[in-house]
């Protein structure tokens, strides 16, 4: 567990998190790896895991009729795959596919939610770490929606 704790503590998301919280979070964590083109999850699957990427890259995709799978974002080292774990009904809205050999910390979402419910200090500390990620994704999505490189309207 100590090894996993240090891996969790070393991830960008948990920088500065107190050791007692690291221990609690690491209790929900395991190491995972995905080969290139292996799916981490598919749309509509239960959002049971959060993936903190240690190495590699992951494409987030949505299937669009007539277009096949469209990648709307890629995520790499230090980034998080899966923010859906925070909100009911805890289901993925997109597919996540490893673009290359990817190693990650997988965190059991239910385990983490239960610990956050039981210890609101932990819950607040984690929310403060996940919220900036959500806001950053929202901002970049807004920029993508502006389609600034497209034809002027």
């Amino acid at each position: 567990m100590e090894g996993l704790e240090s891996i969790v503590a070393g991830h960008r998301l948990f920088e500065g998190l107190g050791p007692e919280f690291i221990t609690l979070a690491a209790g929900c964590a395991k190491n995972v790896r995905f080969n290139a083109d292996q799916y981490l999850f598919h749309a509509e699957d239960p959002a049971d895991w959060i993936y903190l990427i240690r190495h590699g890259r992951v494409a987030l995709e949505m299937a669009a009729p007539g277009h096949g799978a469209v990648t709307f974002e890629t995520l790499g080292e230090g980034e998080i795959v899966g923010l859906t774990w925070l909100l009911p009904p805890y289901r993925w809205g997109y597919d996540a596919r490893a673009l290359e050999l990817t190693r990650a910390i997988a965190m059991d979402a239910k385990c983490l939610r239960d610990k956050c419910e039981a210890d609101h200090d932990l819950g607040y500390a984690l929310m403060k770490r996940f919220l900036p990620v959500l806001v950053q994704r929202l901002q970049t999505t807004r920029l993508q929606m502006l389609d600034v490189y497209g034809p002027r309207r």
């Binding site: 494409a59 987030l60 995709e61 277009h67 096949g68 799978a69 469209v70 990648t71 709307f72 974002e73 890629t74 790499g76 673009l99 290359e100 901002q139 970049t140 920029l143 993508q144 502006l146 389609d147 600034v148 490189y149 497209g150 034809p151 002027r152």
Partner: protein, 286 residues
């Protein structure tokens, strides 16, 4: 020396009089974007220019528009400019054939202050067609590669098939002395590169931020967020340079079409320091 604070002198004796140039080569970059190579029709040399400057290109009988120079400033044998067909004049420019003539005024405007970046890490952030005005700076950075620290190009565009100067980017990447990251806003499953806005690449940069310099060119919204992200990782505002785009007509600061607060983009720009324009970038009145 703060080279962008002072506009470069207009290099033609009569800045309002077009010279006649002849197209010697045209290259299709994208379905709507062409690069034209030109020489003076009278065989006399065209004026020298600095990276970042633009000319006014005049299609006879159609009209005149500003177009940034996209070639190598050290190559004085020809003028190279890249045009996207977005309006009547630009469309006419993209339809010029080899041997056709057009009018040229300029070059005009301020330049990328590349010579001030010696010993510094340099980050170049380009969006869409914004890579074209940055290419002359990239040529200069490459030509004097040993004088700079790390050299990084971050390029964002709409889709993989919209990547400008693709073969050149691939060549530069193979040279191994410039880090190049390309990202697209949307991609199909066949694309293995980054997907997402170009600003997302900035926090991952491994640069000596306190001493790094940045050149940014692209749609203004993209530049605003890119400059902000560069500042967030530690680049001082005066170290960040943007190339602005406005509706330029006279190109010498007389007509007022490109007025930008108290200045003119044609004369005081297009290259401007971020600290000088930051407060103006979000103003819709400007």
């Amino acid at each position: 020396m703060d080279r962008v604070a002072e506009p470069l002198p207009v290099t033609q004796p009569d800045a309002m009089l077009p010279r006649v140039a002849r197209v010697t080569r045209r290259t299709r970059e994208l379905p709507d974007t062409w690069t034209l190579e030109m020489v003076a029709a009278d065989e006399a040399p065209l004026p020298r220019y600095a990276p970042g400057q633009f000319t006014m290109m005049y299609v006879f009988g159609v009209g005149e528009i500003p177009v940034s120079i996209s070639g190598d400033a050290s190559d004085t044998s020809r003028l190279v400019q890249t045009v996207r067909a977005v309006g009547k004049v630009s469309e006419a420019l993209t339809k010029l054939s080899v041997g056709d003539t057009l009018g040229l005024r300029g070059p005009f405007g301020t330049a990328w202050p590349v010579a001030d970046f010696y010993e510094h890490d340099v980050v170049v952030v380009a969006g869409g067609l914004g890579l074209a005005p940055l290419r002359p700076a990239l040529y200069q950075l490459q030509a004097e590669r040993r004088r700079f620290g790390k050299l990084m190009l971050l390029y964002g565009t709409r889709r993989p098939e919209d990547i400008l100067f693709r073969s050149q980017l691939e060549r530069w990447r193979r040279q191994l002395d410039m880090e190049i990251e390309v990202t697209v806003d949307h991609a199909g499953a066949g694309w293995r590169g980054h997907v997402g806005v170009v600003t997302k690449l900035i926090p991952r940069l491994a640069v000596d931020a306190d001493n790094a310099k940045a050149l940014v060119c692209g749609p203004e919204v993209m530049m605003r967020f890119a400059a902000s992200a560069l500042h967030d990782i530690g680049l001082p505002e005066p170290a960040i340079h943007l190339s602005l785009e406005r509706n330029m007509k006279c190109a010498v600061g007389l007509c007022g079409h490109c007025q930008f607060a108290g200045g003119f983009v044609c004369k005081d720009g297009p290259v401007m320091r971020y600290d000088k324009v930051r407060c103006l970038l979000g103003l819709k009145e400007i």
